[in-house]
Every structure is written in structure tokens, then in C-alpha cells.
Amino acid sequence: MPGASAPGVRGWIAGALASAALGAGVAGEQETPPAAENPYFDQKEALDEGEKLYRIRCYGCHFRAGGRGPNLFRSKLTLVQFVEIVAKGGGPGMPAWGGTLSGEDILKLHAFVMSRDRL
């Protein structure tokens, strides 16, 4: 089961993705959850889903441990920063995934890359 902070994080991400879709900054008008922990950190099924997403959405640039894009397995981003960049896009080359991935997808992706050192 997801941890206690899950509803808060999920609510925040849902709002953040909606505001990103409207063109606002992801965190824009959303209050950042105080202790944003990923509810999927210890969920095997979710980690498997995250790995699957990594392979079809991220691998082509981020590779096994960084490539054209940075090494996500050693990312220092907070969950909030991670969600912001994935949803809205980053620097040149980093797409905006907010229209393609759901908040749950992004959480699973984040849990997966935080769970190991490399693909």
C-alpha cells in the first residue's frame, strides 16, 4: 500500500499536471507538498511498471546510466523537481511529458530510477 503521504502527493501532482496542461508552471499555483515522498518506493509492481516506462520513454536519451540526457539513476532532484521537469520539459532536448504520462506514471518512473544505480 502506498505510504501515508500518498494522497497529498497525488493530489499535488494531479493539480500540477493540470496546470502544466494549461501552460502554467507545474508548481505554479500549486502548494508544494511539505514532505513529498514517493508512495511507490517499495512497491514491486510499480517499480516494474516504472522500468517499463523508462525503457520506452527515457532510455533513448538517458541510456543505462546517462547519455544525451543526464543519469537519472543518480539524480539529485527532489520529487517535486523531477515531476516538474518530466511534465513540463527541461532544457533543449527534454520533452514535455505532461500530455503523455499520467501523474501515476511519473511517480512510478521516479520510484524506479531511485531504486537502483543503473538500468
Partner: protein, 611 residues
């Protein structure tokens, strides 16, 4: 096609009427006669045979030391690299840039005339396999054509930059994009598509050059019932890649277009055992219908991402004592090929890079490679390394140049290797909507020795390398040859080089400040021969490995510089030193309306009022 006919017709009429009086148009006849025209560079390969050979001889091996920069033009943006071959017509350069942007620039002075930005949405970047590159445009009539990262083909008035029409070539959300220059054939404009890493099925499409209506579309992977479909197991042909992401060539006498095809997909070849026609090869297409006349695969059952996308060169030459209508191609797989373009028959294939090990050699009659099974990864198996060449290729998309008198072909060639590991087959599946479709891990091995980058002259008659120029950095540029015996190319450090075509001696160099990954051209105006080269590294895969400064500049050179005079509109004056008194009455810092500098004033812009 995206077209509101009334609106488009009105826009087109407005554009036509807005064109400057007397602006010259480009005719099909001009394209047929492009070889003799030294004022212009009218198509991607300069001529339909794509020899990139200019009969200009003002700049020679003897005087090339006097070559100096005349001007430089900056494309701005976020500098994701310039891979284009600029075109020149009627004193105007058409330079495409990253993110499918297009600039029209005065070819004598570098002053901008207009620019176009299709404003590619941020989410489209998920189908960029290798950066937001654009390799050039095409010209016909009063229109200039560009393909976009979101898979549109756009026609603009070449004199004003106004959009005349645009066609949706494919759905970018399913992995399609356009990075190659279109090719004008008769009254049509042809384009291929990129997306071989996203499970697309490659095709070439032809559009009516005036209206944008599609004339024909030919998939290069045969469908059910078509010859060659049985080279794909099951449904794998549907997502088999075979992208067509560079520019074809045309033989008007044969009424045939020759187009190169990209890697087979996914990279993990164990799920698509078979020849996988016509990926990693050349297809010869009937120019009027797109019908495939013949195909030739350099790497059947491509297990190494060996696209065959460097634009070929057509030349009628004597080979082995026989007159041959040849098609020459240098491939990612490390071999230089000669085919008989009338039949697709293999003539020869010579290894150019040392240590090729994916094959034990080519069949001398058919050219079919004898694959080295030790260099084919297994699903779920260990990494296979080093495989030579790497998937970055001995060459990639870069165009060759051919000196027909000296029978020398000039091209870049890199020495590097890779490791390849195939994922277990339950770790990937055909894409539903533009997902990555690889099924493999890849690791590039870079040589830091003295000769990672090579620039090669190959004698096509004697089938031998005549000379090489080695660089510690890779070469990633196209080539240019001139009749005076010079060859131009650049390396990833940004050195633009003039090389003696006969000896291979580097006679002149210029540090452009960023990697050269575009293709040089030459043209002559008012008795002055210019050489132009885009400089702007970080475009595409090379940005993985090298960290040279980003930029997006077009450098133009001439003997003794020939810097254009400052235009009379530029308002630059020299003023003798003097210190104004504080509070000096009666002066104003306004007082003059500056004439439009650079891009034309927008009509809606309020002029600065005189004080």
C-alpha cells in the same frame, strides 16, 4: 493536407503579389542545368547527381592562404547545431537551422532578409531520436520547401517567407519527423521521414509543388502481397523502421529517383529474423509513381543500427574497362560501394575503416555480407564488444563530394567501436504510439588516439584510398570539391579545412569556434568566389560525447576577405572626441528614425517619431 482552400488561395495570391518585382524564379530546367551555374547552389546535392563539385577556380591551392572571413551570420535560438547544406539563388542564401527554422540571407553581405520559425511544440521532442536537426531545403518556382520536426512539409514564398501551403506528411505522435532536405523532381517535391527508433514504417512521398496535394507515397518496407514482405516474420514489417531521413538523388534520363533507407527496427534484430527488405539500403523509384524498380541492401538483417543514409553520388565512369552508370555510396557499415544504378547490381565494396568485424567480408559477386555470428548479440545475452564500426557509423548522413576529372570521392570517415547488448524479449514490445522501440543497450567506445576522425579521398577507378586527413576529433561534415583542386570539410573541433585534392595536404584552416556538422558550399557573385560553411556543433548524437561550444553560425569566406562595405543604411559614423557639457541646451538623443536594420519592419510597428 492542412489547407483551407479559400484562405490558402488568398494567402498565395497575396504572397505572389507581394514578391519583389523581377525576383527570379527557379525552374525545373534550372535544376537540370545546375552543373554549369556557378552563381547558385539550387538543391541539396547542388546537382541531381549530388556530386557537390563546383566548376570554380578563383580559389586555388596556390592562393587559398589568402582566404579570409567575409562575414558571419548567427541563427540564434538555443543553438542545437547546424547540419544543413545552404542553398543559394539569385543572391540569397537559404539556411535551415535546428528546430526546423529557416533564414533567408543576402549572399553578398550576410544581411538577413526574412526568417521562419514553425514553433515546434515542446512535447514533439519525444520523437527526436538525435536532436532537432534540419539538413536543408529545396527550391522551385517562387517557393522554398522545408520539412519540420513535427512531420509537416511547408512551402514558403522564397522572397518574403510567407507560408504558401503546408502538408501533414505523417503523424508525429507515432514517431515520425522530418530532418532531411526535400528533393524537387519535375513539378513535385519529395520528402522522406525519420523515426527508425520509434517503430515507424519508412516511406518517400511526393507532393504537387504548387498546391501541396500528394501525388504518391511509397513505403520502402513492402506490405503483404508485395515482393519482399516475406523477409519479415509475422507483423514485424509494420514497425520495421527503414526511415528515409536524408535526401535522394535523381537521374532524369532514367526517370528514376534513388533514395537511401535507414536501420531496421527494433535494434534488437532477434525479433525480426530475415533480410528485412528494403531497410539499410537503396531503393530506385519510378519518379512519376514511386514504384520500386529495384532495391539493394548493404546490411540485410541489420543487427547494428547501420542506416544507409549518406546521400549517394551518381556518376558515369569507366570501371574495370567498362562504361558504367554508377551509384556510389559510403555506408555506416564501413564499406564504400559502387552499384550499377540501371539495375542495382553490385559492382564492388571496399572497406574504408580498419578493423571491421561485423562481417567477415562481402560476396564479390552479390555484395552480400558474410555476417560474423560472434558480433550478433542475443536477446537477454551479454554485451558484445567491441563491434566495429559503432552505430554512429563510419559515416552517417554526411554527403560526399566527387571530382569527376580526378575520379576521387571525398568523405568523412570515423574510427570507433561499440558494445551492444540485446534486452530480453519480454522487456520491449512494438510501440503503441511513438514510444522508443530499441530492445538494446548500446555503449559507444571512442578512440582518443590521433585518428578518430578521418577525411578520405577514395579513387573510385582504382578502388583505393588515395589519402586521409586524420583528426583527434571526429569529422561530422559534408564535403565540397572545386575544379581548382581543392576540397573543403570541417571537424568537430570547428576547424574548417581546405585540402589539396591530389595530395591530401591541409593547405588552410580556420577555427570557427564550434563543431562543423553541416556541409560547405561555394558560389560566385560579382566575380567573387565565396565558400560558405555552417558551424554549430552539439546537433545530434555527437553532443553525447563532445563538449565543444554550442553555436549556430554561417561563416562565409573569400580571397582577401572581401568584407562587404557597411551599407549606407547602417548609420555608422566616426565622431571626433568631444565631451558634451552637462545640461547643454537644445540637444536631444532622439531625432532620427533608424532605417530598418536587418529584418524588414513589420507594417504594424509604430515608427519612432522625430522629436
Amino acid at each position: 493536407m492542412l489547407r483551407n482552400s479559400c484562405l490558402a488561395a488568398a494567402a498565395l495570391a497575396a504572397v505572389v503579389s507581394a514578391a519583389p518585382a523581377g525576383a527570379a524564379e527557379v525552374s525545373y530546367q534550372d535544376l537540370l542545368n545546375a552543373g554549369r551555374n556557378t552563381r547558385d547552389w539550387l538543391s541539396y546535392g547542388r546537382t541531381y547527381d549530388a556530386q557537390r563539385y563546383v566548376p570554380l577556380s578563383q580559389i586555388t591551392p596556390q592562393n587559398v592562404q589568402r582566404l579570409q572571413a567575409a562575414w558571419v551570420f548567427a541563427t540564434g535560438g538555443d543553438n542545437r547545431g547546424l547540419q544543413a547544406t545552404p542553398l543559394v539563388h539569385d543572391g540569397v542564401i537559404y539556411l535551415s537551422a535546428d528546430q526546423s527554422r529557416l533564414f533567408a540571407v543576402d549572399a553578398r553581405t550576410g544581411m538577413p532578409k526574412w526568417r521562419y520559425d514553425p514553433k515546434i511544440a515542446k512535447d514533439v521532442e519525444r520523437v527526436y531520436c538525435c536532436g532537432s536537426n534540419n539538413r536543408g531545403v529545396a527550391l522551385l518556382g517562387n517557393l522554398v520547401y522545408i520539412g519540420t520536426m513535427d512531420a509537416r512539409l511547408v512551402a514558403l514564398n522564397k522572397d518574403t517567407g510567407a507560408v504558401a501551403w503546408e502538408a501533414k506528411v505523417a503523424d508525429w505522435e507515432h514517431g515520425y519527423s522530418i530532418t532531411g532536405a526535400p528533393l524537387v523532381v519535375k513539378d513535385m517535391v519529395l520528402t522522406g521521414v525519420a523515426g527508425g527508433e520509434f517503430g515507424i514504417r519508412g516511406f518517400v512521398a511526393a507532393y504537387d509543388a504548387k498546391s501541396g496535394a500528394q501525388r504518391w507515397r511509397r513505403h520502402v518496407i513492402p506490405g503483404p502481397g508485395e515482393p519482399g514482405n516475406d523477409s519479415w516474420p509475422g507483423e514485424t514489417w509494420k514497425h520495421g523502421g527503414g526511415s528515409t531521413w536524408t535526401t535522394g538523388v535523381f537521374d532524369p534520363g532514367m526517370n528514376t529517383v534513388f533514395w537511401q533507407t535507414g536501420n531496421a527496427g527494433p535494434w534488437n534484430c532477434q525479433v525480426r529474423k530475415g533480410d528485412n527488405k528494403w531497410t539499410a539500403g537503396t531503393v530506385a523509384l519510378n519518379a512519376d509513381t514511386g514504384e520500386i524498380r529495384w532495391g539493394f541492401q548493404y546490411t540485410p538483417w541489420d543487427c547494428w543500427d547501420y542506416d544507409s543514409v549518406s546521400t549517394p553520388v551518381l556518376a558515369d565512369v569507366q570501371l574495370g574497362g567498362k562504361a558504367v552508370r554508377a551509384l556510389f555510396h559510403y555506408d555506416k557499415n564501413g564499406f564504400f560501394y559502387a552499384l550499377d544504378r540501371s539495375s542495382g547490381k553490385f559492382l564492388y565494396g571496399e572497406p574504408i575503416v580498419p578493423g571491421i568485424n561485423w562481417t567477415k567480408g562481402l560476396d564479390p559477386v552479390t555484395g552480400r555480407p558474410n555476417v560474423n555470428p560472434d558480433m550478433v548479440a542475443q536477446s537477454g545475452g551479454p554485451e558484445i564488444a567491441p563491434i566495429i564500426p559503432s552505430l554512429e557509423g563510419a559515416i552517417d548522413w554526411q554527403p560526399l563530394a566527387f571530382d569527376p576529372g580526378r575520379r576521387l570521392m571525398f568523405f568523412m570517415s570515423n574510427n570507433w567501436a561499440m558494445g551492444y547488448k540485446f534486452w530480453a524479449e519480454d522487456k520491449f514490445a512494438p510501440p503503441a504510439k511513438g514510444e522508443w522501440y530499441l530492445g538494446a543497450d548500446y555503449q559507444q567506445y571512442i578512440s582518443h588516439g590521433a585518428n578518430t576522425g578521418n577525411f578520405v579521398a577514395f579513387d573510385v577507378g582504382n578502388r583505393k584510398v588515395a589519402w586521409r586527413v586524420a583528426s583527434p576529433a571526429p569529422f561530422w561534415s559534408g564535403a565540397l570539391a572545386t575544379s581548382s583542386g581543392l576540397v573543403f570539410a570541417g571537424d568537430m573541433r570547428g576547424y574548417f579545412l581546405a585540402i589539396d585534392a591530389v595530395t591530401g595536404k591541409v593547405l588552410w584552416h580556420f577555427p570557427t569556434g564550434s563543431g562543423i556538422i553541416g556541409s560547405p558550399i561555394s558560389y560566385q557573385l560579382d566575380g567573387v568566389q565565396y565558400v560558405a560553411v555552417p558551424s554549430g556543433g552539439m546537433g545530434g548524437d555527437m553532443g553525447f560525447y563532445y563538449t565543444e561550444p554550442k553555436a549556430g553560425n554561417l561563416w562565409v569566406f573569400a580571397l582577401d576577405g572581401r568584407r562587404p562595405p557597411i551599407g549606407k543604411d547602417s548609420n555608422l559614423i566616426s565622431i571626433p572626441g568631444s565631451t558634451p557639457e552637462v545640461g547643454e541646451p537644445g540637444t536631444t538623443l532622439g531625432g532620427r528614425v533608424l532605417p530598418g536594420y536587418g529584418y524588414p519592419e513589420k507594417p504594424e510597428r509604430e515608427p519612432i517619431k522625430k522629436q
